[in-house]
């Protein structure tokens, strides 16, 4: 091993890519606020006014940049913050309190705004806690400016940002400074920062517990977003090794892009559909550029995430139409809002076990108005026949039946309004709960397709919370039970001839490709940046050999055995590019 283990930290591989750059510690903690009495009231009031003006200017810049980078709707989060800075009732209250109580302005700002936050936090409405977070942002900004503390909003260019966690506002700010990578103490692959990092193609390793404690400003850092590793102050050898790797990856990437318009076909003539997973609409150009055969999974909860509340039918209709038109004639599979679990903030944050709680289809069926609004928007976008609809977290037939009833109601309502839609829009379900996996042959009679979400399936099959860094090593994609379950599922789906694709992280794992092919999947949906790699691998595989490999793996009893069997398989077959593929692999 080239790596000297002492300077290596492990985290969650969140956004792919390798970067070598200087560290920039982004500190946001607020220093203690004194409640001591002040002498000069007038001066305190002036400082408050100045701090508010300064905050407005800062926020204005962020807002402008947000509109440019994220579009107007997503930037709306910042507009509300802006209005708070212009709230004269609030400002008058603050000024009066300084006068009456003779306390420092930062104390008054903190005390007054926290009152509102406490009200918001006490609410049972699920979006109110997020709103409270936005207000926290504004409060801290004013206090920071009051303390006249040089807040490092001007980040140096070309650095790797190291932070406890990252808010939406931070992320936008970072893109301006041409940030080369992110490292955070907290957060996982589905956090806001993670999604933005991926869509902006900035390598990121999140969930590195000791990052801010062990890294100092200007430390040289190697960030490996494929393996979820960071190296602090690397040796010359380590730098050389990674620089070489970056160069080779770049050459390989250019090579792979030539595959864009090529089909994915095995040596023995089996054809595969490689689609993209879409997190934010901004990724769409990249998806097309990488030669995706459509979109296998649109994660619509992102619309909710950035708009703060559920978008209305027209807004959704426009978003979905835009996707459908841009991808035409390829298909776009839209998944209903997957709220709850680790996705977005659920209504009740205090669920003792959110992963087993109110999420996915359970949440949607309890909010039928919201669900129907989305169904109608998707139906309307399906008018050119290339939109499919699916629901997450299904665990029983009853959920499918209820959803189908709602779809019928929606169709009737659209007809009454004279709005067009595809009456035969395909409806499918995600298979990610073991109970659904066991009942595939029955589900096959009531849906038109299946999409296997491996992330959740593995977590529920192995009883491992994938977001929990403490047990993340027990989350094993190649656990023998996972391979056996998938084999069973493909077999069961064939009984009713229901197409089944695979859309979890596993589909994008280069190690897993021969397994997925050998299991008999014909469609994969992966992060757009992985498409050329997956194509390249498939074009060098033979289905028959993959099938043999799977049969052997089905007899093995540990993940290690399965992994070494796959590695052996690769080494025997493609000596010429196996190194490139596996350098690039995160397992």
């Amino acid at each position: 091993m080239i790596m000297k283990k002492t300077n290596v930290l492990k985290g969650i591989a969140t956004a792919p890519g390798i970067t070598i750059a200087k560290a920039f510690l982004y500190r946001k903690e607020i220093e203690s606020i004194s409640s001591e009495e002040i002498n000069d009231i007038a001066e305190a009031q002036i400082s408050l006014k100045e701090a508010i003006e300064k905050s407005k200017k800062e926020l204005g810049k962020i807002f402008e940049l947000a509109v440019k980078k994220l579009g107007e709707k997503r930037a709306a989060i910042f507009e509300a913050q802006m209005m708070i800075l212009e709230d004269n009732i609030l400002i008058d209250t603050l000024l009066n309190r300084i006068d009456k109580e003779k306390k420092a302005p930062e104390y008054i700002v903190h005390d007054e705004i926290t009152k509102y936050q406490n009200l918001m936090n006490a609410s049972t409405e699920f979006y109110m806690k997020e709103r409270s977070q936005d207000i926290e942002d504004i409060k801290n900004r004013i206090i920071r400016n009051l303390k006249n503390k040089k807040w490092k909003s001007k980040i140096d260019n070309d650095v790797i940002v190291v932070s406890e966690n990252v808010t939406p506002a931070d992320t936008v700010l970072f893109t301006r400074a041409n940030v080369k990578g992110y490292i955070t103490n907290f957060g996982g692959i589905t956090s806001h920062a993670a999604i933005l990092a991926r869509s902006l193609r900035i390598p990121a390793v999140l969930g590195v517990h000791e990052a801010t404690a062990k890294i100092e400003d200007n430390d040289l850092i190697i960030l490996d977003g494929y393996h979820g590793e960071i190296i602090i102050n690397p040796t010359e050898k380590q730098v050389e090794y990674y620089q070489d790797k970056i160069e080779r990856l770049a050459t390989f990437d250019t090579e792979l892009l030539t595959l864009r318009d090529e089909p994915a076909v095995t040596i023995d003539g089996q054809k595969y559909i490689i689609q993209a997973n879409l997190d934010v609409n901004e990724e769409i150009e990249f998806v097309i550029q990488n030669g995706a055969h459509g979109i296998g999974l649109v994660r619509t909860e992102q619309l909710y995430n950035v708009l703060e509340n559920f978008p209305d039918e027209e807004t959704q209709f426009k978003e979905y139409c835009d996707l459908a038109n841009k991808l035409y004639p390829h298909s776009v599979t839209i998944r209903a809002f997957d709220i709850g679990g680790d996705k977005v903030l659920p209504l009740d944050l205090k669920e003792p076990n959110p992963m087993l709680g109110w999420r996915g289809i359970r949440f949607l069926l309890d909010h039928q108005n919201l669900f129907k609004t989305q169904i109608k928007a998707i139906l309307r976008a399906s008018v050119n026949q290339n939109v499919k609809f699916m629901i997450p977290m299904v665990s029983s037939i009853a959920e499918v039946n209820k959803t189908k009833m709602l779809i019928d109601e929606c169709k009737k309502e659209l007809e009454e309004k004279g709005l067009k839609f595809n009456p035969n829009m395909e409806f499918g379900i995600m298979i990610e709960v073991p109970s659904a996996a066991l009942m595939i042959r029955d589900f096959g009679k009531c849906v038109s397709f299946f999409s296997v979400g491996t992330n959740d399936l593995i977590q529920y099959l192995l009883a491992v919370d994938r977001g929990n860094e403490i047990v993340s090593s027990s989350y094993q994609e190649f656990h023998p039970a996972v391979i056996r379950a998938l084999e069973f599922m493909v077999h069961e789906a064939k009984i009713t001839n229901t197409p089944m694709n695979i859309c979890g992280e596993m589909a994008a794992d280069h190690y897993a490709v021969p397994i997925i092919i050998g299991l008999g999947f014909h469609a994969l949906s992966v992060n757009a940046s992985e498409i050329p790699y997956i194509k390249k691998i498939i074009n060098n595989l033979s289905f028959k050999e993959c099938r043999v490999l799977v049969k052997e793996c089905l007899k093995l009893t540990t993940e290690d055995e399965i992994k070494s069997r796959i590695l052996k398989f690769y080494k025997e077959r493609f000596t010429e590019f196996v190194d490139k593929i596996f350098e690039n692999n995160n397992r």
């Binding site: 209005m83 709230d87 609030l90 509102y116 918001m120 409405e125 207000i135």
Partner: protein
């Protein structure tokens, strides 16, 4: 003083956008304007206050207006509530 009962009728409830619009409308008038919900009285001219109201569809609110142009502001604000914040 004018006192009126209103119900939230749009699906999304009193979210950020309508909150902002309410404050903008209220700013055009001189009268005081308060929104009362579940024993909480909020100044309708303060965005941070209005944002604090978690008013979902079906919530009942009591609006009070007091001042020289109380009739005009009441009409303007009520009309916006009754239009379901232009989201129907």
């Amino acid at each position: 003083m004018i006192e009126k009962n209103v119900k939230i009728i749009n699906n999304a409830g009193l979210h950020t956008r309508p909150a902002a619009t309410i404050v903008k409308i209220a700013a055009k008038y001189k009268s005081d304007f308060y929104i009362n919900k579940d024993g909480l009285s909020i100044n309708g001219k303060s965005i941070i206050g209005v944002m604090t109201l978690a008013a979902a569809k079906g919530s009942d609110l009591v609006l009070t207006f007091e001042g020289e142009d109380e009739h005009e502001i009441a009409e303007d604000i009520l009309s916006y509530f009754n239009r379901g914040f232009d989201e129907l």
